[in-house]
Amino acid sequence: MNASLNVRNVVTGLVVAGLVLLPVYSALSGNVFVLTLFTRIVILALAAASLNLIMGYGGMMSFGHAAYLGIGGYAVGMLAQEGIGSGFVQLPVALAASALFALVIGALSLRTRGVYFIMITLAFAQMAYYVASGLARYGGDDGLTIYKRSDFAGLLNLSNRVQFYYLCLACLLGVVFLIWRIVNSRFGLVVQGLRSNEQRMQAIGFPAKRYRLVCFVIAGTMCGLAGALLANNTDFVSPAVMYWTRSGDLMVMVILGGMGTLFGPVIGAVVYLLLEEFLSQLTEYWAIIMGPLLLLIVLFGRGGIMGLLGRLKRG
């Protein structure tokens, strides 16, 4: 047991160290592209980590998690468009809007289970997608260009690639730390207990729905942060970021890395996005390779990459 945990910890440690040192490598090698790529990876890893909180620990298979990427992003974009460039306004608005959205769709969709829950979360995210497409003032279908990144009054300059990268990484590590604390807290144990056996949890005195709802809101808020960062990263936000395939991407990252493990989604995001980048350089039809590869991992690597690493030393 301990040995297997160590393999995981070593890999996790290496990945985190790599992420921390990446800007150094970028500066030394003069490879700017790698920093841009990894900024995106870190932001989506944050989104995947937030999805893992409800999906992996809470057993809630939300298929609409990309909606919060859009909501966080549009909060930044719309405020910027209206001349409010301060990050101290944009960020809280992005988080609050995401939390509110999660509260409403969570309250409605958590009445359902299983496949219905998947479909209803998907439906809500698609609704958000079409609403954004209809926002003519904010670019509609074409999306909204953000001419100036969130302004943190000299504290941080988001247009500086290295500073922005470290901001994203700090957010990711902060969120992972928070999730670690949450899953070991009273609240986290209740949520995991509900995943395991809801009837039992009700019988010992826990009202299931309100715990699930709070968890759903926490995860949505975290993903809204990722959305705000993503919009800053691309200087652009469009309905496409909320499309259901993006929610699917996030799910794949979580499953690939290992559901219900702390760093699984981070590793899943790194592997998935690097594969996508690498394979799409090889061929236009990269999805033909990616698909079977993911299938293999899901079929033979129960528990994703973290599961594989966990078994590595046991055999």
Partner: protein, 255 residues
């Protein structure tokens, strides 16, 4: 004493055309063991499920210490002091024995919207869990995941979980189901000890256990209570004998 601890009046529950609970009335006094027996399919589990709030009755009332709880959800009844064990073991299988019990203690020990402090390091909860495990003889198995406990141990853990909610009344749905002779004997002894602290509604097929433990017995057949009384009276009751024999459901020692 004005009200018995638990009082059920004219409870009715139908499934389609079948009346699974047919105007059932019974009461359970303070620190009394009230056993409910009856052939398979008599509606015993349906009755228990209505008492715990997992199933909504179509008619009648359930009162706990005078308060009508007929429409309260399961978790709220638990908060009022009603605990159950399941006929088919129902635990958090990916948690350890101690975690299962500690969660039950946690539900009745302050609120659970605490997000940062490590719950497994809360001494109060761990002590409560340990005490309940000790009670059922599982103290040495505290850190074993439920999936790796034996069937008998899981039955005992069910009981520990119920006890950790500090109930006024325990609803036990066939606690001896699937237990071997020695395990059964241990369970009987345990329930016998518990009667000093808590009222018990005992649904059980093991007649030896029922007659050894029960203060009163109610016999349920086709959803109706056909007899209710002290064990000796039930033993002598002709209708009970006929119901069991006429039904071809021979009541065996072990379910």
């Amino acid at each position: 004493m004005a009200d018995p601890l638990l009082r059920v009046d004219n409870l009715v529950r139908r499934f389609g055309g079948i009346v699974a609970t047919d105007h059932v009335s019974l009461d359970v006094g303070d620190r009394e063991i009230h056993a409910i027996i009856g052939p398979n399919g008599a509606g015993k589990t349906t009755l228990i499920s209505q008492l715990t709030g997992h199933l909504v009755p179509h008619g009648g009332t359930i009162r706990l210490a005078g308060r009508d709880i007929s429409r309260l959800p399961a978790w709220r009844r638990s908060a009022l002091g009603l605990a159950r064990s399941f006929q088919i073991t129902s635990l958090l299988s990916d948690f350890t024995a101690a975690d299962n019990v500690a969660l039950a203690a946690q539900a009745h020990h302050g609120h659970s919207f605490r997000f940062l402090a490590n719950a497994r390091k809360e001494k109060g909860l761990r002590d409560a869990a340990h005490a309940a495990l000790e009670r059922v003889g599982l103290a040495s198995r505290a850190d074993v995941p439920v999936a790796r406990l034996s069937h008998g141990e899981q039955r005992e853990l069910e009981l520990a979980v119920a006890l950790a909610t500090r109930p006024q009344i325990l609803l036990l749905d066939e606690p001896m189901a699937g237990l071997g002779a020695t395990e059964s004997a241990r369970m009987v002894k345990l329930l016998g000890d518990l009667r000093r602290e808590v009222s018990i509604v005992l649904v059980e097929h093991d007649m030896e256990a029922v007659f050894a433990l029960a203060d009163r017995i109610s016999v349920l057949v086709y959803g109706r209570i056909i007899a209710s009384g002290v064990p000796d009276a039930i033993r002598q009751n002709d209708e009970v004998k006929r119901a069991y024999l006429g039904d071809q459901h021979v009541v065996t020692r072990n379910g």
